[in-house]
């Protein structure tokens, strides 16, 4: 049973426009929700996170939204840049230290 689902394997947007990546999770026992970015031949790197007690967190061009009633997490990138092209993983984390990842969305930002 997959606890974290990213239903869009890929997303293509034009440079300067908004990128919206989505993630759904299946239970309410998580304490933090995170997004990681991965370039080819590298390990994932942390991008942004949100606590379960908040509904929005912003860091520069990146904003994460959490809708607990819908069990839905989204990442907005505005404006999108070609360097943002990568695989984005959402993850859920418990205070016991366990992180579970989705299968990723490949974002392509076209110049």
């Amino acid at each position: 049973d997959q606890q974290v689902k990213q239903n869009s394997p890929s997303l293509s947007v034009q440079e300067g426009r908004i990128s919206i990546l989505n993630c759904d999770y299946t239970n309410s026992m998580f304490d933090y929700f995170l997004w990681y970015k991965k370039y080819p031949a590298e390990g994932p790197t942390f991008l942004i996170s949100i606590s379960s007690i908040k509904d929005k967190n912003e860091d520069g061009r990146f904003t994460v939204f959490l809708n607990k009633s819908a069990k839905h997490l989204s990442l907005h990138i505005v404006p999108s840049q070609p360097g943002d092209s990568a695989v984005y993983f959402c993850a859920v984390h418990t205070n016991a230290g366990k992180s579970t990842f989705g299968d990723g969305t490949t974002l392509t930002v076209k110049p």
Binding site: Y32, G43, P44, S49, F89, H93, S99, G104
Partner: protein, 116 residues
């Protein structure tokens, strides 16, 4: 600050052979993870250590996989004997410790295993 170090970066073996991967986490990080990432999928947890104790190894195929973290620092992950379906990238990650951070994991570059 040095990141998470992993070796080897690439390994090609034949099925039924054995292989070992090494990980050195960020200094001071109490929690160490091994994840398996198969092409097109997200990282899947194999084992989680807190210092030198195992916190979660429920998804580790214990008939062929083993892992240890001696002295609560470096860790090794071994596969013996390897199967074709073990072809994947093995990612090591570390964090400050359960309850001490907001869930951010620091990953190494990974060890890519190909089993022929």
């Amino acid at each position: 600050e040095a990141g998470v170090a992993q070796s080897p970066r690439y390994k090609i073996i034949e099925k039924r052979q054995s292989v070992a991967f090494w990980c050195n986490p960020i200094s001071g990080h109490a929690t160490l993870y091994w994840y398996q990432q198969i092409l097109g999928q997200g990282p899947k947890l194999l084992i989680q250590f807190q210092n030198n104790g195992v916190v979660d190894d429920s998804q580790l195929p214990k008939d062929r996989f083993s892992a240890e973290r001696l002295k609560g620092v470096d860790s090794t992950l071994k596969i013996q004997p390897a199967k074709l379906e073990d072809s994947a990238v093995y990612l090591c990650a570390s964090s400050l410790g359960a309850g001490l951070n907001t869930g951010e994991l620091f990953f190494g570059e990974g060890s890519r295993l190909t089993v022929l």
